[in-house]
């Protein structure tokens, strides 16, 4: 039975009610390793059904993975009970009407064919390529999502994803690299391991740095993570409506360097394509920033209704478990620049710091876009336009708008950075990001050194 057929069967179990059924299926494997040894290998084969029942403006949601007739009847009963006990939601926009999403790429038969032994073999290629102890994983999955509703909505997509993460580390040295794609051919775990080893070799003997404001080069993984955190609050419509996001009162204004353009584009085959959101609405490309001008934010049906004024959804509804966040970016895409490599960006800034990866970010002030976090696994001084001595991990507390206000350069080709930590149901997401040079990166303290 296909995911869409199962969604239809779940709807039948809720007969007599206005309802929506969301089915997510997953067949995945994660060959995780630590210290170059197998560690917590996980295989998952699962199918979950979420049933949303609407009664007099009250929404009840129940989910489970019993897909037989009795299981679906019990699921419907729970959803009805939840709806009857829920308060009316004045922002609920009703279930989405039928729609025809764009055809997207994102499925690779070679990736879909990978089994546990293949994932283990790929992990072994990374471990074999590593001189240092290697930590990380190789994972691949086939994910299905289908939505059917009593409004006549019926949409379905099957996608693949493959990712390799490599942390080469020993006491006093560590380096990081990753590869992500929906095609198997785009992910070379051994190449990631080699890159991580090369980076780690440069990190021995790390020294402290005086806190202060420095020009910096952020490699794509570092910039992607910083931008993702900023964007959760800055580019979702709920934050705009509630006047707590950076975008509030700035739409249409030139607020960033004109070299910076940002879109959310789930249709881009360079990313991890998605045809529709969790309301079943076709996803749209949304220009968030064009040449430094803040152009728009992301909407779902609920936030669009709340805003009024004819506002329409852009197809960015989150899963119900994240509904309190409002619409979310899941396919951010940064426009490339003119530099050939991060090393060329170092030449542009001359003197500053070089950051590979970030750790444990937190939003200090959403209105001002202030984010704190740590660097890790490859932080260096830049001197004379060259990557110089290694640094310990740095505490940074940056105003992202200030960081984006002056970007001396970006690399030409954005790379896909994995954004999925594989919590809950698998829904592969990534961010297309170049490396960037910024005139201002605020270091506020020092932490531990590189390595284990």
């Amino acid at each position: 039975m296909s995911a869409l057929e199962l969604a239809g069967k779940a709807l039948q179990a809720a007969e007599g009610d206005e309802a929506l059924a969301l089915v997510q299926s997953e067949r995945s494997g994660m060959a995780r390793f630590a210290g170059s040894e197998v560690h917590q290998p996980t295989l998952i084969e699962n199918e979950t059904v979420e049933l949303q029942v609407v009664r007099e403006g009250r929404l009840g949601i129940a989910s489970g993975n019993r897909t037989d007739d009795d299981g679906l009847r019990a699921l419907a009963a729970r959803a009805v009970e939840a709806a009857e006990n829920a308060p009316p939601d004045p922002d609920f926009a009703g279930l989405a009407p039928p729609a025809e999403p764009a055809r997207v790429e994102g499925y690779d038969s070679d990736a879909a064919a990978l089994g546990a032994e293949d994932q283990a073999r790929l992990a072994a290629t990374a471990i074999d390529a590593s001189e240092l102890d290697l930590y990380g994983f190789v994972t691949s999955g086939v994910t299905g999502i289908a939505i059917a509703s009593t409004t006549g909505l019926a949409v379905e997509q099957t996608m693949t994803d493959v990712a390799a993460l490599a942390l080469a580390a020993v006491d006093g040295a560590s380096g990081y690299a990753e590869r992500t794609g929906w095609r198997l051919e785009d992910v070379d775990p051994a190449a990631a391991a080699v890159e991580a080893n090369e980076k780690a070799a440069l990190t021995r003997g790390a020294v402290d740095l005086e806190p202060g404001s420095y020009p910096a080069v952020l490699e794509a993984p570092a910039f992607a993570e910083l931008l993702a955190y900023f964007s959760y609050d800055a580019f979702g419509a709920l934050g705009l409506i509630e006047e707590r996001s950076y975008a509030f009162d700035k739409l249409g204004q030139p607020v960033f360097d004109e070299r910076f353009s940002l879109a959310d584009d789930a249709l881009d085959p360079r990313g991890l394509p998605k045809a529709f959101d969790f309301e079943g609405v076709p996803r749209q490309r949304v220009e968030l920033v064009q040449e430094g001008v803040l152009r728009g934010v992301l909407w779902d049906r609920t936030s669009a209704k709340r805003a009024g004024g004819g506002q329409q959804t852009t197809g960015h509804a989150p899963p119900s478990s994240l509904r309190h966040w409002g619409p979310l970016p899941i396919s951010l895409s940064v426009g490339g620049g003119e530099a050939d490599s991060p090393e060329q960006l170092a030449e542009l800034i001359g003197d500053g710091i070089y950051v590979t990866r970030l750790h444990y970010l937190s939003i200090v002030d959403p209105r001002e876009g202030i984010v704190t976090g740590m660097t890790r696994d490859g932080t260096f001084r830049i001197r004379g336009g060259k990557v110089a001595e290694p640094l310990v991990n740095l505490r940074f507390t940056v105003s992202v708008p200030q960081l984006l206000a002056e970007l001396p350069g970006l690399t030409r080709e954005p790379v896909l950075i994995n954004q999925n930590a594989y919590y809950d149901e698998r829904y592969p997401t990534g961010l297309l990001s170049p490396a960037v040079a910024t005139a201002r990166f605020d270091v506020t303290g020092v932490g531990s050194g590189p390595g284990t």
């Binding site: 994660m30 995780r32 630590a34 210290g35 560690h39 917590q40 996980t42 998952i44 699962n46 102890d133 930590y135 990380g136 994983f137 993460l165 942390l167 580390a169 560590s174 750790h359 444990y360 970010l361 937190s362 939003i363 200090v364 002030d365 704190t372 976090g373 740590m374 890790r376 991990n393 505490r395 507390t397 930590a421 594989y422 919590y423 809950d424 698998r426 506020t444 303290g445 020092v446 932490g447 531990s448 284990t452």
Partner: protein, 246 residues
């Protein structure tokens, strides 16, 4: 640098991030390096590491009534129990699995938890408490000539070895001559874990002690959410770096 009094709610997260995670023995052995990170604590530190001042007593207790980390037995079948982690400032235990406990020849496991049928059990916090000291919140504040009172978490971040942390709070108050003064905007405080805990000079009493729950503790690949609890009283620390908007 100033003296801070931190309320019990923020202390719960302080315990979680700067004591709970670094004493998870799987992290200490490096097996979570790729994602959550490792620890500044080493296996050989047991019984000798000066983690904090003599006022610091931390207990792991999976029997706490009402705790989100309370159970009859963990996911390896080890019965719930109560174990000291820090006693009078000295590292006295780790959070362990049966496998990691055997590696150090100490402890009996009891901290292995998975968040669903489809995830591997990991070494996890259960209920990890800062044991109470003596006195009231007012008495803690009365012992401060010039400082800041910090309440309720807003932002949180700590490095991959759990050494450098920065927390922001929802609200803060100036303390002058033992009394609360004006409200401070967007206060943050930062420190290095053992230095910070070494500056602990008082913990509030039993009647100030509250149990707080955290439901979003992330760890592992694939990721897992753990539900844990932390009991704490307000506490006072000297020489802490604090920032706030003028």
């Amino acid at each position: 640098m100033t003296t801070v009094v931190i309320d019990d709610e923020q202390m719960a997260l302080q315990v979680h991030e700067s004591v709970g995670h670094p004493t998870e023995l799987d992290r200490v052995y490096g097996t979570e390096a790729a994602y959550a990170g490792t620890s500044f604590v080493k296996p050989g530190d047991l019984g000798s590491l000066r983690y904090g001042s003599e006022h610091m007593n931390i207990t792991a207790d999976s029997t706490t009534p009402g705790g989100l980390g309370t159970f009859g037995f963990d996911d390896e079948g080890v019965p719930a129990g109560r174990e000291p982690i820090v006693r009078e400032g000295i590292l006295s235990g780790f959070l362990t699995s049966r496998e990691t406990a055997a590696r150090i020849g100490s402890g009996s496991g009891g901290s292995m938890r998975a968040d669903s049928w489809s995830r591997m059990p990991l070494v996890r916090m259960t209920n990890l408490h800062l044991e109470p000291g003596e006195g009231s919140l007012d008495e803690l504040i009365a012992g401060v000539d010039d400082g800041v009172f910090l309440q309720t978490n807003k932002s949180w971040s700590i490095d991959d070895k759990r050494l450098n942390f920065q927390f922001g709070t929802q609200i803060a108050w100036e303390i002058k001559d033992g009394k609360l003064g004006r409200m401070l905007r967007d206060a943050t405080y930062t420190g290095q874990t053992p230095v910070f805990w070494g500056s602990l000079d008082a913990v509030g009493g039993r009647d100030q002690w509250q149990l707080h729950g955290l439901t979003n503790c992330g760890k592992g690949q694939p990721g897992q959410h753990a539900h844990v609890s932390h009991g704490a009283s307000p506490a006072r620390f000297r020489n802490v770096q604090v920032g706030f908007k003028p």
